[in-house]
């Protein structure tokens, strides 16, 4: 039975989601909500457990689900790289679902939301487990279709426009990717599109049709790059920030965009092969694209004042870190790219969830509205603090590890190929880190050290009185008298941390960031092994 289980993580959520759409609840009552919640969480959790079980027992497993025609099969395979991605989403999804319950509490049409949310899980798992380019392409197209209703979910005019744009960009990009698929199929040495470490292009073809193949690679890179928000094909991502936060967080910071990056990694290292691409003009073209995006995304994030859109721009910039790693075309580059893929997932989902928690609790969406919230929502902003420092690449947090590896890979690539672009890339990464510092720290500084407004000035004065009393007491004990507290309450409506369903995922993500920052050796060893095999 071992083989068939491979298909379960893909098919179970899709079937479950479809079933949920078909299922009819009598009314939108609380009891039904709870039932729905239990059903969804149970389904997702079960699926994650299956994935973990597979990771433990069936590494290297292989399953041909069915044959399309000729050599084209829908095939699932569990190798280390796919396993890493699958493990990542299996870890994130149940927590994100938990978060969504609280976030979506007051929304109607929950059934439809969760149905697609669960289906997306299956499709993303399909991308992770895909054993050949055809299967991945199939899942890739399906991913567009199942996430489209999620972007559309608010049903506002803005959401409709955003979702239409998302559809155009994705389908258009997939068309370019399709060209890549066809060429890989026709020039492969095995006659199919199987993923093999080191690539499957036949040597004669790669010699004879070198430039054509490189051109196709660039096209496919940018085609898959649409999902990875590669400049200038990033336009859909910031606009899709209108979707509910669980969607933007999990889908647009992790699943969808990472699927794009993952597809590029597969294409580069497992279909074309790094050795074929190394040092060619195609490498420099895609690397320049990635670097341009890094700089562009982080600069735009500084300009943006809508919090979630700012994070979306930050995602654009950070995804291109991964693509930069992919474009380095070396084992070390692959390891670095994967490490950023994993670590960025935690950092970005954590930041998005914090933004969502603030929106949910206070309804505030703009950065300038966040004054002084840091102390009112200590857990949320504590987690945001960790995520921000990590995004900036401060040591002790995960982000530093991936940036360090990326820079190492860049330098070794630069000294091996003699190109100047990898060196410039490190500069761009540092520029982007500086910009990250500005756009993330400005949020935190606002939250913790509010600029005094008229109302706040008043509070400051009451604080001063408290201080006087403290001095009078000589003991240094501060007087926290009730009048002051009253004053504070009347001055501003009290906001607090959200409920446990939101906090638990946040705290877990923040913990993982710190854990990865302090003890990254096991992860890096695994990733370097993947890199070593593929390079």
């Amino acid at each position: 039975m071992g083989g068939m289980v491979m298909a379960v993580p893909v098919l179970l959520p899709i079937a479950g989601g479809a079933g949920m759409l078909a299922l009819h609840f009598q009314s939108e009552e609380k009891r039904d909500d709870r039932l729905l919640g239990l059903l969804v969480e149970g389904l997702v959790l079960a699926n994650s457990l299956v994935i973990f079980w597979l990771l433990k027992n069936h590494m290297g497993g292989n399953l041909v689900l069915f044959r399309l025609f000729g050599n084209l099969t829908v095939r699932f395979k569990l190798d280390l790289m796919g396993g890493t991605f699958a493990g990542l989403i299996a870890f994130l999804w149940p927590l994100a679902v938990l978060y969504s319950f609280e976030y979506m509490k007051h929304e109607s049409r929950k059934r439809m939301f969760f149905a697609y949310y669960v289906m997306t899980y299956g499709v993303t798992a399909g991308i992770a487990l895909a054993g050949n380019l055809v299967t991945m392409y199939l899942c890739y197209e399906m991913l567009t279709l199942v996430t489209f209703p999620l972007v559309l979910f608010p049903m506002t005019k803005e959401a409709k426009r955003a979702s239409r744009r998302y559809l155009y960009y994705s389908i258009g990009g997939a068309a370019f990717a399709f060209i890549g698929l066809v060429f890989v199929l026709s020039y492969s040495v095995t006659g199919n599109t199987e993923f093999m470490p080191g690539g499957i292009l036949s040597p004669e073809a790669s010699k004879a049709r070198r430039n054509l193949l490189l051109l196709v690679y660039v096209l496919a890179f940018f085609g898959f790059g649409v999902k990875a928000a590669l400049f200038p094909l990033h336009g859909w991502l910031p606009r899709a920030a209108v979707a509910p936060t669980p969607v933007t967080a999990l889908l647009h910071a992790v699943a969808v965009v990472k699927s794009g990056a993952f597809a590029i990694l597969r294409l580069t290292y497992f279909s074309y092969g790094a050795s074929f691409l190394q040092g060619t003009w195609a490498q420099w073209v895609v690397m320049a694209g990635a670097l341009l995006t890094i700089g562009y995304g982080s600069t735009m994030a500084v300009r943006e004042i809508h919090w979630k859109r700012r994070l979306a721009y930050s995602t654009i910039s950070n995804l291109s870190y991964i693509l930069f790693g992919a474009a380095l075309m070396s084992p070390l580059g692959l390891a670095a790219a994967l490490s950023h893929l994993v670590i960025h997932a935690f950092m970005k989902i954590c930041s998005f969830f914090c933004a969502g928690a603030v929106m949910h609790q206070t309804g505030k969406t703009q950065v300038y509205e966040l004054d002084g919230l840091g102390r009112k929502m200590p857990v949320v902003f504590g987690c945001l603090f960790i995520a921000s420092l990590s995004l900036m690449g401060i040591p002790l947090f995960g982000g530093f590890i991936s940036k360090w590896n990326l820079a190492q890979a860049a330098f070794s690539c630069g000294s091996r190929t003699g190109g100047w672009l990898p060196y410039a890339g490190v500069g761009v990464i540092l520029y982007s880190a500086l910009m990250t510092g500005i756009y993330m720290m400005s949020v935190l500084v606002r939250a913790y050290f509010p600029v005094l407004t008229a109302g706040a000035e008043e509070r400051q004065q009451t604080k001063g009185e408290g201080a006087d009393r403290g001095l009078t007491g000589e003991t240094g004990q501060e007087v926290s008298g009730s009048p002051k507290a009253d004053n504070k309450k009347t001055a501003q409506k009290e906001y607090g941390d959200p409920g446990w369903m939101m906090l638990v995922p946040l705290v877990i993500f923040a913990g993982v960031i710190v854990l990865l920052g302090v003890r990254s050796a096991p992860l890096m060893e695994l990733l370097k092994r993947i890199g070593g095999e593929a390079g």
């Binding site: 200038p232 336009g235 700089g295 562009y296 600069t299 735009m300 500084v302 300009r303 420092l389 900036m392 690449g393 401060i394 040591p395 002790l396 530093f400 590890i401 360090w404 590896n405 820079a407 190492q408 860049a410 330098f411 070794s412 630069g414 000294s415 490190v426 500069g427 540092l430 880190a433 500086l434 910009m435 510092g437 500005i438 720290m441 500084v445 050290f449 509010p450 600029v451 005094l452 400051q460 004065q461 604080k463 001063g464 408290g466 201080a467 006087d468 403290g470 001095l471 009078t472 000589e474 240094g476 501060e478 920052g517 302090v518 003890r519 990254s520 050796a521 890096m524």
Partner: protein, 699 residues
């Protein structure tokens, strides 16, 4: 300490951490402990009436551990990690009281820290790529090899980037901007640490870079010494102009860092010239230690002033120190020490630094006599004579601004409220009055009537006994070190010089020889003259101290903020925004429009063929009849209804079916022939193409 203890923690934070404990690190660790405990004791009183004490103490101790981590680190990676943590935890000190100017200063501090950190990281990447290691002990050999080799310039680049990062923290020109801003707004015990020991972490890094990587490189030494001289002079100048107690001390820190940097530069230069660099190394180290202690004492004295008056402006704190012996003693010790008065510790380290410049000048002169000379301006002894004078003048300026502070605090009586400040007239009313004179801050002390007498009891003492004890303990060290230089200072220098790559005992310097005393005397003389002429005559107006520094001349406002806040995000942001709004969007629009036009055109093309065929070769059955069959299902009005009528009158069902079949047959026939025709056209085109290709190949 002969043997260094080292500790490796593999696997943590990616590359693992490496610590080492040798003499230098031991001493600095001890100083850190001393400084943190003294200012910690002082903080108990200073922070007593602040509300967010717990936050302060959290970051206070967090910074201690980070700082200790920096000093114990044995590779740049570990240094960097703790360095960054330290930058972020100390940020909270600067932003602590959340006032507008504090937040602005904190912004500056954070910006310098982040940019410095990033640049340093870049340098580390480059260095790691070059040498494959970041450990100090391994770098020493590697760097020497690379300096001889082809990738020399890259090593310089790496060193320069590291220097930028560490220099930003040390307060080296032109990155000193954060010191004069951040120190006055931070709580005073924290300023003592910022100035006394956090800047030294930067110096630690610069020593590591300079002496481990470029120990034998004259050009590098020249760079550091040049930066040191500029920083030294500029800092002293800024301090002389300042009329704010803590700002003066902060600028003084910049200046003293310049002295230390000069010392590091001289160490490199002397080593590069093949001489013994013992004097410079020991001078550098001792000045580091001294400066840490001076600033601890001086900033805590400033803390005592601030916590009573909530003022730092020299005009407003005038005369505060009169009749307060503890404060006067401590401040005097610090001031005499930092001015380089013989018998105090500052004299010792400054003498050593001075001697090292003199020694290098002599070396160069000797070389000139022997007919060789070093290239460049640094090879000219005249330059070093100038440097020596610069050194003496900066020392003189140090004396001048300390004299300015001392006289303002302890000698000049306040024109209006002296009696009250001295605490001679203690009736509650007059104190209230006094205080209202000084009342400028919102969160300063507003006495309630019934507690006021108790509160002012400690006012003449100006601080609690515990604080005073801690402060005196730190202050006593300065003359103690200065009186017995051979037992204390030489001992410390012997322990520490291993870190500077020096072993063995240096020859004993007779600190109180006539030549050395002369240097000190010249410096002090310059100071007194400067004070008498410049400060008394020019910087005072109507009995008030005025700031004569042109306010527009501020490197931060003039250069950094415009570049970072306007130019960089403005230009890059504008470019990106423009690209986003116009280029990408219009590209999409244009692409869509163009493709629509093309597609429509192609659509029309195929349609055109069909339409042409219909009108010419394949003109079909009359319209009305065709309509009859086609529109039946639709059941629309017009001809359809007409047909239905006819059908009802004349045809049976079978007959209708027959006609339908006939018509369909005809339609199929016609469509088939139409399809055949299109196929024929396609075939003709292919044939034409093949002929063309054939023809091309022939030709």
């Amino acid at each position: 300490m002969k043997e260094a203890i080292s500790l490796n923690v593999p696997g943590v934070c990616g590359m693992g951490l490496h610590f080492e404990l040798d003499g230098f690190r031991l001493i600095y660790l001890a100083i850190a402990v001393l400084m943190w405990s003294v200012s910690g004791i002082f903080s108990l009183e200073y922070m007593a009436h602040y509300k967010k004490r717990s936050r302060y103490y959290l970051f206070f101790w967090a910074t201690f551990f980070a700082t200790a981590g920096v000093f114990l680190s044995a590779d740049f990676y570990t240094t960097f990690i703790f360095f960054e943590i330290m930058s972020f935890t100390s940020y909270v000190w600067v932003a602590f009281d959340e006032k507008k100017e504090s937040l602005r200063a904190a912004q500056t501090y954070l910006a310098v820290a982040i940019i410095g950190g990033m640049v340093m990281l870049m340098g580390m990447f480059l260095l790691y790529d070059l040498c494959g290691t970041l450990r100090f002990d391994e770098l020493e050999g590697m760097a020497g090899q690379i300096l001889k080799g082809r990738r020399r310039l890259q090593l310089y680049a790496a060193g320069g980037l590291l220097l930028f990062g560490f220099g930003a923290k040390a307060g080296c020109f032109p990155l000193h901007i954060w010191l004069p801003k951040a120190h006055p707004v931070a709580p005073a015990p924290a300023s003592a640490l910022l100035s006394g020991i956090l800047t030294k972490t930067g110096i630690f890094g610069i020593i590591a870079v300079s002496l481990m990587m470029f120990g034998t490189d004259g050009e590098w030494g020249m760079l550091i010494a040049g930066l040191g001289l500029i920083t030294m002079l500029l800092g002293a100048l800024l301090a002389l102009f300042s009329v704010n107690l803590k700002r003066t001390l902060a600028c003084s820190s910049v200046s003293q860092i310049g002295f230390i940097l000069t010392g590091i530069g001289m160490s490199c230069l002397l080593q590069a010239a093949g001489e013994d660099n013992g004097l410079a190394v020991r001078g550098t180290f001792l000045h580091m230690v001294n400066h840490s202690l001076f600033k601890l004492v001086l900033f805590l004295c400033a803390a005592a002033v601030y916590m009573n008056l909530h003022e730092l402006d020299l005009n407003k704190i005038r005369g505060f120190g009169r009749k307060k012996p503890v404060l006067m003693f401590c401040f005097s010790m610090g001031a005499l020490g930092i001015s380089g008065m013989p018998l105090w510790s500052g004299y010792i380290s400054k003498t050593l630094l001075h001697e090292s410049i003199v020694e290098y000048t002599q070396v160069l002169e000797g070389m000139k006599l022997a007919g060789e000379s070093m290239p460049g301006i640094g090879g000219n002894p005249v330059f070093w004579h100038g440097a020596e004078w610069l050194f003496l003048i900066s020392g003189g300026m140090t004396a001048a601004y300390m004299l300015k502070l001392w006289i303002a605090l302890f000698a000049e009586p306040d024109p209006d409220f002296q009696a009250e400040i001295d605490g001679e007239n203690r009736s509650a009313e007059s104190i209230l009055q006094t205080f209202s004179g000084y009342e400028a801050h919102k969160d300063c002390v507003k006495p309630d009537a019934h507690t006021s007498s108790m509160k002012w009891d400690f006012y003449p003492k100006c601080m609690r006994k515990t604080s005073a004890a801690a402060l005196i303990m730190a202050a006593v060290l300065l003359p103690l070190f200065g009186l017995f230089p051979h037992s204390f200072m030489d001992g410390m220098a012997d322990m520490a010089q291993g870190f500077f790559g020096k072993s063995g005992h240096a020859h004993l310097v007779s600190y109180f020889s006539a030549g050395n005393l002369k240097g000190g005397a010249i410096s002090l003389g310059i100071g007194i003259v400067l004070y008498g002429v410049v400060v008394r005559r020019w910087m005072r107006k109507d009995g008030q101290y005025v700031d004569r520094w042109p306010s527009w001349l501020d490197l931060e406002n003039l250069l950094y903020r415009p570049v970072l806040q306007v130019a960089l995000p403005g230009i890059c942001g504008a470019v990106c925004g423009f690209v986003d709004r116009y280029l990408v969007s219009s590209a999409v629009t244009v692409f869509l429009a163009a493709s629509a036009v093309v597609c429509r055109g192609m659509d029309q093309m195929a349609d055109g063929v069909i339409r042409a065929a219909r009108f010419s070769t394949h003109s079909q059955i009359p319209r009305a009849a065709a309509f009859g069959t086609n529109t039946e299902g639709r059941g629309t009005g017009g001809p359809g209804s007409c047909v239905r009528e006819r059908r009802a009158r004349f045809f049976s069902v079978l007959a209708r079916l027959r006609e339908q079949v006939q018509r369909n047959g005809r339609l199929v026939e016609e469509s088939f022939s139409f399809g055949l025709m299109l196929f024929a056209i396609g075939l003709c085109l292919t044939l034409g193409y093949l002929l063309l290709v054939f023809w091309l190949q022939l030709g």
